[in-house]
C-alpha cells in the first residue's frame, strides 16, 4: 500500500506486469474512488465551467463528457479533469484526488456567476473496468444496453441494483467504463465485477499498472507532465484548448503564446538500450542539460523503455537523438511520436 493524495492505495495486486497485460488483452478492474468530484449547478453552471476550463463545454450534449484543463490566469494547469454534462444546469467534474480541495477553492474564487459549487467527492465511489473484454463483463451486471454508449459518453443505470453513472471513459488507452455510485456499495460492486470477469481473466489492478498503462497511452499525469508551470500548447494538449470559444481564465496568455510560439514541448522518447530513464532524470541534448524526464519507465506491452520530457520544440519532432542521464551516465534515447501505444479500433 502507498499513500496517494491522502488515500491508502495498493500499488499492485498480482504484479504490475500481469495487471498491465490483463488490461491490454482482457480486462482489469481499478478502484479509483480516490478521484475527486465537484458539481456545478444552476442557470450559470455552464458559464462558470466555460470560464475556468480551457475546452469548450458548450459543445457537450447531455450525457457527454470531455477531457479538459482547469486553468490559472496564466494559462497553466490547476488540474486536469473530465467534465460531464448531466443536464443543461448541472455539470460533474472528475478531478485528481490530491487537487480536489484546491480545485474547489479555485472554482469558488472565480465564481462571479453565482453558480452553485459543491465538493461531492465523499459521495462517490468510482471503479474503472478497462480492457477489450470490459464491455461484455460489465454487461452481465447491468440491464443498461452498453454498446450504444459511445466513447466519452455516459448514462445512468443500475449495476447489480446499485444506481450508477456509467461512463465510457478511462485512463488506460483501452475501451472500458468508469462507474460512479454510492460508497456504501463499493465493496459489493467490486466483488461482483471481479467474479463476473474471472472467466475472461479480469484482474484487480493497482496504481502501478494505472501508471504504466497511461504512460504507454501517452496520457498526462498531473504533477508530472502538467502543473501550474505548463500550458496546454507545451503539453501537446492544444486539442483541449479552444481559444475560439471566447474569453476564459488564461486565454489572453494562451492566445499570445500561440502567436509567439512555445519554448518547450512535451515529447515522447524511447531508450535505445536496455537501461531505463525514470521520472526526474536529466535530459541532455547535444551534450547540454535540457530538461528532466516527466514520466519514464518500462512499457510492459510494447516491451520498450519509454518516457516523456520537455524539450525545445525542434527536438520534439520524432527521430531526434537525445540522452538521458542515468546515475551519472549519458544513455542514448530517441524522440518518438505520442502516444506510444494506440489500440486497434
Amino acid at each position: 500500500m502507498v499513500n496517494f493524495g491522502g488515500w491508502d492505495m495498493p500499488l499492485e495486486y498480482t504484479g504490475i506486469l500481469s495487471e498491465h497485460e490483463a488490461v491490454r488483452t482482457r480486462a482489469g478492474l481499478f478502484d479509483v474512488s480516490h478521484m475527486g468530484e465537484l458539481e456545478v449547478r444552476g442557470p450559470q453552471a455552464l458559464a462558470l465551467v466555460q470560464w475556468v476550463t480551457c475546452n469548450d463545454a458548450s459543445k457537450l450534449v447531455v450525457g457527454q463528457a470531455h477531457y479538459s484543463g482547469l486553468m490559472t490566469p496564466e494559462g497553466t494547469f490547476v488540474d486536469d479533469l473530465l467534465v460531464h454534462k448531466l443536464s443543461d444546469h448541472h455539470y460533474l467534474l472528475c478531478v485528481n484526488a490530491a487537487n480536489q480541495d484546491d480545485d474547489f477553492a479555485h472554482l469558488r474564487a472565480h465564481n462571479r456567476f453565482q453558480a452553485e459549487i459543491e465538493n461531492t467527492g465523499s459521495r462517490y465511489a468510482q471503479l474503472a473496468i478497462q480492457g477489450p473484454r470490459a464491455l461484455e463483463i460489465l454487461q452481465r451486471l447491468t440491464r443498461v444496453h452498453l454498446p450504444p454508449i459511445r466513447y466519452y459518453h455516459f448514462t445512468h443505470g443500475e449495476v447489480r441494483g446499485v444506481p450508477s453513472l456509467i461512463a465510457r471513459t478511462g485512463y488506460t488507452g483501452e475501451d472500458g467504463f468508469e462507474i460512479y455510485f454510492e460508497p456504501a456499495a463499493a465493496e459489493k460492486v467490486w466483488d461482483e465485477i471481479l467474479s463476473a470477469g474471472a472467466p475472461e481473466g479480469l484482474l484487480p489492478c493497482g496504481l502501478g499498472a494505472r501508471n504504466t498503462l497511461r504512460l504507454e497511452a501517452g496520457m498526462c499525469l498531473y504533477g508530472h507532465e502538467i502543473d501550474t508551470t505548463t500550458t496546454p500548447w507545451e503539453a501537446c494538449l492544444g486539442w483541449i484548448c479552444k481559444l475560439d470559444k471566447g474569453e476564459f481564465l488564461g486565454s489572453t496568455v494562451l492566445s499570445a503564446q500561440k502567436q509567439a510560439g512555445i519554448q518547450r514541448k512535451l515529447a515522447g522518447f524511447e531508450m535505445l538500450d536496455k537501461r531505463i530513464g525514470r521520472d526526474g532524470y536529466p535530459v541532455f541534448i547535444a551534450g547540454g542539460e535540457a530538461g528532466r524526464v516527466t514520466s519514464g519507465g518500462p512499457a510492459p506491452h510494447l516491451k520498450k523503455n519509454i518516457g516523456m520530457a520537455y524539450v525545445p520544440p525542434g527536438i520534439a519532432a520524432p527521430g531526434a537523438d537525445i540522452e538521458i542521464s542515468i546515475r551519472g551516465q549519458l544513455v542514448p534515447a530517441r524522440t518518438v511520436p505520442l502516444p506510444f501505444y494506440k489500440r486497434a479500433r
Binding site: 504484479g15 504490475i16 506486469l17 502501478g208 537501461r275 531505463i276 518500462p298 546515475r327
Partner: protein, 132 residues
Amino acid sequence: MYPTDYRYSKEHEWIKVDGAIATLGITDYAQEQLGDVVFVEVPKVGATVKAGAVFGSVESVKAVSEIFSPVSGEISETNPVLAATPETINKDPHGAAWLVKIKMSNPAEVSSLMDAAAYQAFIAEKAKESTA
C-alpha cells in the same frame, strides 16, 4: 526461506561463501519490495568491487534499486540467465538468480554480515516500521 549457510547485508544482498569465492544475489525480501524485475546491470568479469560500495542495479517496473557489495574483490563470473530472463529474480532469488561471483580480497569482511536468523529479525523490524 532464508538459507542458513548464507550471509546477509542490511542492503538486502546475500552471499554464499565457497573458499575465496562469494556468490552474491538479492534477497527474497528485496525482490518482493521491488516487484517485477525487468533489468539487471552488473560489471563485467574482472571489474573490482569494494565492500559497501554500489556496483550495479536491479530495475523493476516501478523502481530501481542499487546493489551494494558486502565484500571487496574482483568479479569472477556473472549470471548469463539474468540478461534474457531478469524475472528469474522474482522466482528464485536465493538460487538460480544469483547476480555475480566475487573473488574476495578480504574474506574477513564476511564476519560483519548477518546470519539468516539475524537477517529475518532485521526484516521483521522493517515490516513493523512500514506498517506503523
